[in-house]
Amino acid sequence: MESNQEFSAEQSLQVIQSMIQKVKHEVANNSFYLLLWGWLIFVATLLNFGLMKFTSFEQPYLVWNLVWIGAIVSIIKGIKDSKKIAVKTFVGETMKFFGISQAILYFGLAFFFGKYDLWTIALPLYILIYAVTCFFMGALMQFSFLKWTGLVCLPIMVVAVYVPFDWQLLLLALAILISYIIPGHVLSAKEKLQIK
């Protein structure tokens, strides 16, 4: 691009539009976190259910220590990405702090539920948080599919309120599959197309 050549008003507008388009297509690696946490929670939920239902293991909730792996991987990835990135977008920064807020919320609630032994209400509440999280992220990323999958979690949450704990685990797995895993794979495919 040469700066000194004469150019018309129409060309000025074209330059503005093309540069804005180039930034819009900057890839944010949001699918990574959706898939990491989606699969982690999905596996932990089903392991918890399986151990409860089909074994005599007395502490099936210990599988939830898998989330520490997710936390460590997320932190390492976040630090590595922040060193590589050559541009900070407003959406990217908002997503970063939203993700950190979510982490604080999930771990904080787990502490709270553990302290007061409120696990019978915990899972529907987590499903509600998935619904709101995905709706918000979908709106921020202009990814409608994620907004809709978030909303689909709301009736799942309502059902979860009326069923026993073991069924709540299965509903949690369903909610995370719909709200995190499927949209995560769709977003990942979109991101790969944009890179090409």
Partner: protein, 95 residues
Amino acid sequence: MFKDLDPILHSQLRLAVMSLLISVKEAEFIFLKEKTNATAGNLSVQIQKLKEAGYIEVIKQFKDNYPQTICKVTSTGIKAFEEYVKNLQAYLAQK
């Protein structure tokens, strides 16, 4: 009307840089170079002109022992860009 367009912004590369920076919080020099396909030398000159006009802020620092240049648009730059776009649209509407 066409002659009233801000001469600082009415330059292909400077306009491209401002358009990129308006859309983001901040961007590194290498990002701007990649998106504008400009040479490093030319881009440096145009960034300096935008900085002297007060339209962008330039931060030079080191990252992993390598020099890093980060550019951000200023509030003066945002106003100037908005004015430029408004005048451009008015001119195109008249044609």
